[in-house]
Symmetry: none
Subunit: 213 residues, 2 copies
Amino acid sequence: MTVSDLLADEGYVVESASDGPTGLARATNEPFDLLILDVMLPGMSGFEVCRELRQHGKDVAILMLTAKTQVVDRVVGLKLGADDYLNKPFDPAELVARVEALLRRVCKEKLTPVVSFQFSDVDVDFEKGEVTKGGESVALAGKELQLLRYLVDHRGKVVPREELLENVWEYQAGVSSRTIDVHVAWLRQKLETYPQNPRYIQTVRGVGYRFSN
Amino acid sequence: MTVSDLLADEGYVVESASDGPTGLARATNEPFDLLILDVMLPGMSGFEVCRELRQHGKDVAILMLTAKTQVVDRVVGLKLGADDYLNKPFDPAELVARVEALLRRVCKEKLTPVVSFQFSDVDVDFEKGEVTKGGESVALAGKELQLLRYLVDHRGKVVPREELLENVWEYQAGVSSRTIDVHVAWLRQKLETYPQNPRYIQTVRGVGYRFSN
DNA sequence: AATCTTCTTGACGAGGTTTTTACGCCCGTG
DNA sequence: CACGGGCGTAAAAACCTCGTCAAGAAGATT
């Protein structure tokens, strides 16, 4: 019986990927409550997938699964940002119990929108209202922070200018012209490594902007 | 080396209890970030302590520790509401790694109210309501002390003006304008080394204030 | 009653923030 | 290739926020 089947039998909605890169891509673009990563994956180890996700600010719950029994591996897994770890072979009941324990914690946290996020050498803590780039503190004005937050909250997707006007500028009649562009330019100026050739805050001509990492 | 010593060496503040009922009482009455429960405890098993706490709504993070190796026990522990589980004997590094993983999830939000606090050459005792700067007693008026306390309790975070009005001024209708600023100015005047260039009581333009040290 | 302390408020200015304006470039299209 | 709309950017203009001061109200103290 596979892990998928096991959890499906428990009533969970499960998706699976058969290799590392595929899983990483899915985990990056779709919202999940919990990831179960096998360390031994074709193309990319579970450790790598885990590290990639964490480095890109994904705070989804991660349960690592491996046949290795050396303690050093368990520690490496947890240090990389996994939330729990399970040895193969494992008791199906224990897997289910751990999944439940993890989900219970994740749900609790969903209630308090704690958002921190990092990309490149930039670290954003929306709660503290602090932004650093390469360790140096960066001063962002109110609108800049709101705009960044909105883009990051919708990272990976194109955010139409309309949507930004509605949600960041709150329907303020008349606000248009180049206002959005100006704020985007300032964000790039302050956060991008090459503001002239932005990598994270991308322009989608004719539509809007997209944050991508 | 005991678990207490191990974690203390890592820089954590640790308290321990030598039997089940004592631990339960302490965990009930004092705020902790994380509990480590041995299943084998005099007077009351770790399982029972865990269940009691959960039944009374305590959502503190719990790491269970046991020598038993049967899977059934591990499952029981998790089902009772423990967040993680570790077999004895364990690698000290793994314990630390798990504690870190748990705290990362749980501790993010937790800020426990303080009774005494010091920064710079200032010493604040909220219980006695006494404040000294450089050994000299400083007289703080009621509102000033409340304001300071609120900021210190939320140190590191930005406290919006709204929140201050709600919690320090208790929704008093109409109270706004420059009232907050004035009290902040007085605090700075009395506590900051350079009131004109405040280091601890910071203003976050457009949002509120933040205490930071 | 007189005085003192605490709290609140309004005026004002300095300085930061947001929007607008203006201009030039780039890119896709005819 | 010429054209036009969309975008980047700088600078000016409009706007807002906060720190400070001074004055007054309310309450406590003497």
